[in-house]
Structures are given as structure tokens and as C-alpha cells.
Subunit: 307 residues, 2 copies
């Protein structure tokens, strides 16, 4: 089943202990789409500037990602500059230039209308809601957000949450959105706001799936996927979006969304997140094979399973 | 197979968001021994003061723990006071009184000599080494330490590490001892110092077993056990020592220490750590049943296993 994703396609300048890259292709929708493309058809809604050329297009087209919905606008693409010199788990933002994103009005190509899965990457909740409402017939909707929207645009975000099946955010965002220092209680509070499932991403410690019903047995309201212990984290940018792409992409590839499918999706999310960290920007995600992905899936199984 | 443990038996005054307890029974050897007692015979080497009475003795004796090696000295027992008001993951120490521990000279009762497993809880590495050398015939030796010994008593600690099979420490301790910010590289450096296995305890994120050889398949040099998502952490004091007790206790209960046994031991460690957090001090660890422990083991399996 095809996924439509709306979010940022951007340029990033990144500095990590492993080095520096200037203006490499980035953005949440880019990482998400590349990661999901190994599992299913992906269609992107975004806006870019005149600096987005053939070379950037090719990154999507080489992975058979539909970019009809990437609008070209006068001006420059969204730009972010950040570093991870002291702490690989948290980016220090130096510059954020919204550029063409400041006036983004998502338009959904007619060819996207039969998408059964929708992912609302981290953008203004007003835009997330607009896309959600324009695609009322999708089967499963997931989304991301960040502290800025949680703190300063809460009313708009709450409207988005009502329309989500699955929210994917990190520990701090869960605690702030749920208003509780205890992660389990915070997760429960977040699910009261709409989503019936919540994936909390813990960075180097993996991720936890909380759910009201579905996955697993009656006793189990959570499922954990570890992160892979990596000898070198070259660049953690986009790891969370890549997790989301692997998670949602795998789900969309399944004929039926069973409890077992959600568990495997958590592992595929971690697999794609681990690959994202191995090179700068989207370099590693552009050049994977499904065989490599499944081989690492098996490494995750060995890493966690008793037998 | 019986375990001998050397370490502190102490009184703790603890404040957490859930409340306060004054002078409850604590100490690393106490938590370790109680947790391990559900799996195998445990023998304790420690020193206490005149304030250690029948009621404290009973806590050990009720769990069939051998306390011949708990020496009574003139003066007061080790005392620690700390709080977790801002952060349940890290204690803020208010008071540490070594008292009788300041002049502790471990003496090993003759009846302990046939112990096949030895655990060196977090104490002065000079004492750890003395006990290790007095028990040269043990089959498996594990131990713990802390940043104070790593930073200020490194030479003595390095001697202890040479005699250890397994070291159990936390993330920060691993990074400091291994001299590397990257956990995988730090773990490898630590194993170069002696132990062939390293268990890194991540608090609320579980624990990772690193190993030079043995557990798992040729591709897998690590194994992960999650922590249980708890709705309320009443008191995290002793969770790491309880993890160690569950881990090492389970190993000692096995006829053969196979790769599978190490994996299950990691889960039993997490089980005992999770129980320790549910009540103040050792309250929960005093009153468990093996059935409760195995039921929670199965919860951990559901929490992590795909099928």
C-alpha cells in the first residue's frame, strides 16, 4: 500500500565529531521517504526552492519515490545548520531558515488520492491537519511533532492528534505533551489525546511502542525495540525520521496490520535508524539493499531474543 | 552453586517523590544477596555496627542467606543519605558515613570456601582483591565498582579487573573506565583490562551485555535486556545491585553456564531490578516468590520478542 508523506525537504549543514558536511540534502520527509522506499511506494508532499535541482531530484527518483507533490517555489529551500560536537544525542541548532517553507500551502496531487497510509512529518500542525482533512479515506495515519509545537502551538496540535492513529515522538516530547515525568503515565495521557498508539524514540536506547489495544498479549501494553550498539555514529541527523520511515513503510507493506506486524515494524524502524547514523545526511539510506536491511533485522533479533 | 558476596550492609535514609524512609536496611551486598537468594544459596561477607540487630538479621535469615561472614564491630554501621527529588535516575548524596566500614578487614568463614561463584560488590578495590585472592578456586567472578574508584584508585582497581570474569557498571562508569565517549569502543577497552564480559546498566533503559566470546552467535557480540516501563518508581536505590543479584544468582543456579543462560540471566537481572524499584529499600525484595519472578520474566519476553 502506498504512503503519502508531508514534511520538509531541506538542506542541512552538519558538524559532528566525524567531520562536517555543507548543504547536504535533508529534511524529515526526505529521510522518511528514503527509509520507507525499501518497503513500499512513497509519495512526497513538500516545497523546495530554486536551489533544488536535478541531482536532488535524482535521490528520490533513484528510489522510485513519487515527487509530483514536491512544489518548486521562488526563493531558497528550507535550511538548517547544527552540530553534535558535545553530545551525539542532541543537536545544537545554529541556524534555521524557513525560506520557501514559510508560506507553504500543501497541495495533494490527484495521483496521491488512493494512498492508504499517511505520514504527517514534523511541520506546523495547521498544515498537518489540512493534509489529514484532505485525505479522509486513508487507512492508517501516523505523525511526528516537536517541543516547539507542543509548547507554543498546543491548540492546533491537539486538533492534529485527534486524527492520528500513531504518534512518534521522543522521551522529552512525551513527558511535556503528556504532562508527567513518568514515561508510562505520560504515554497514557498522550494516548488520551487521540492516537491509539505512541512510539517513544529513545535515541541510542531504542524505542518503546505503547498502545491502548492491539499488539501482543493482554498483559503486554508495550513493546521495545533496541538501538544497535554502533562503533561510530557519524551523523545522527534524521535517525528519528528514518525510524519512522522503516516503521511505517514496513506496516504499509503488510497485507494485514497484525500485532506481529507492529512488533516487526518496531525492529525495522530501529534498523533504518541505525543505518541513517552510519554516514552523513542521507548517504547511507540512498544505497541500501533489502538484503542488507533484512540481515540487520536478524542482528536485532539476536540482540534481544532469548532463544 | 553457592555465591559468596562481599560488600556493604548499611543503613540508608532515602527521599524520593514517593516519600521518605529513615535508616532502612540497605547496602550493595544486602540488595545483591536478597535478589540472588531466589535462585541459589548466598553467603555474605560484610561488617556491621552495634546498631545491626535481630530485625536486620531476620531479613537475611528469612531468605536463607548465610550471614556467618557478617562481622559485628564496635561502632555504627555504614550510613548513606540521599535523595532523588529532581531525577529518579541519579541519587543526590547528602551524607556518607563509613563508620565500621572504614577499618573493614574481610574475613572468609571456612564454610564459604566451597563457593563456586564470587561477587565483589562496590567497595574499595583493595578489599575486593583481597577476597578474590583468598578464594582462588571459584568458578566465576563478577564485580561492580563506581566512578570514585575508577578516578581516584585506578591502579588498585586495575588489579581487581584482571581477576574478574564479568564486570557490571553503568554507562558513565564504562565511558570513564574505557576512556571513550562511544559506548561500544569504551566497552571493548574495558574488556581489554581483564573481564571477558561487561554488563552496562542503563537504568530505565535496561542493560547491555558485551562479551569477547561466548554468548550468542558469531555475529552477535552484544545482548540487550530492557527495563520494565514502570508506572511508579518508588525508590531506585539498589536497583543496580538487585540486577546484579538476579543476573549472577540465575547463572549460579544453572548446571552449565551456556550462551542461553547468559541471555536469560540478563532478563532475570532486569526482573529483579524492576521489583527493587517498586517499594522503598529492600521491602519488595524481601517478599517475592519465584512464581512472581518467573511471571515477570515472561512479561519481559513479551516486551521484546517478535513471536
Amino acid at each position: 500500500m502506498a504512503i503519502t508523506v508531508v514534511g520538509s525537504v531541506a538542506y542541512d549543514s552538519i558538524e559532528t565529531p566525524a567531520g562536517r558536511r555543507d548543504r547536504c540534502l535533508g529534511g524529515a520527509a526526505t529521510y522518511f521517504a528514503l527509509a520507507a522506499s525499501y518497503f513500499t511506494d512513497v509519495r512526497v508532499i513538500a516545497v523546495v526552492g530554486e536551489d533544488f535541482g536535478r541531482r536532488q531530484e535524482a535521490v528520490f527518483l533513484n528510489r522510485n519515490i513519487d515527487i509530483q507533490g514536491i512544489e518548486r517555489a521562488a526563493g531558497k529551500s528550507f535550511f538548517w545548520e547544527g552540530s553534535y560536537l558535545d553530545n551525539l544525542n542532541e543537536a545544537k541548532t545554529h541556524t534555521t531558515e524557513l525560506n520557501v517553507f514559510a508560506t507553504f500551502e500543501p497541495k495533494i496531487p490527484a495521483a496521491y488520492a488512493d494512498s492508504e497510509f499517511l505520514f504527517l512529518a514534523n511541520i506546523d500542525p495547521v498544515l498537518q491537519r489540512r493534509v489529514r482533512e484532505a485525505m479522509p479515506d486513508v487507512k492508517l495515519v501516523a505523525g511526528d511533532t516537536m517541543n516547539y509545537w507542543i509548547n507554543d502551538h498546543r491548540a492546533a496540535l491537539l486538533e492534529v492528534l485527534k486524527g492520528l492513529d500513531i504518534l512518534l515522538i521522543n522521551d522529552t516530547e512525551t513527558r511535556v505533551l503528556g504532562g508527567n515525568k513518568n514515561l508510562v503515565l505520560a504515554a497514557r495521557a498522550v494516548m488520551e489525546l487521540g492516537p491509539r498508539m505512541l512510539v517513544v524514540k529513545h535515541g541510542e536506547y531504542g524505542a518503546t511502542l505503547f498502545h491502548k489495544a492491539l499488539p501482543g498479549s493482554p498483559n503486554s501494553k508495550t513493546f521495545k525495540a533496541p538501538a544497535l550498539p554502533l562503533e561510530e555514529v557519524v551523523d545522527p541527523t534524521g535517525a528519528g525520521d528514518s525510524f519512522a520511515g522503516g516503521f511505517f513503510g514496513y506496516l504499509a507493506s503488510q497485507a494485514e496490520v497484525t500485532p506481529g506486524a507492529f512488533r516487526r515494524a518496531m525492529f525495522y524502524g530501529s534498523v533504518m535508524g541505525s543505518y541513517a547514523c552510519e554516514r552523513f545526511g542521507t548517504e547511507r539510506l540512498q544505497q541500501l539493499t533489502r538484503e542488507e536491511i533484512d540481515a540487520r533485522f536478524n542482528v536485532f533479533r539476536e540482540l534481544t531474543h532469548l532463544d
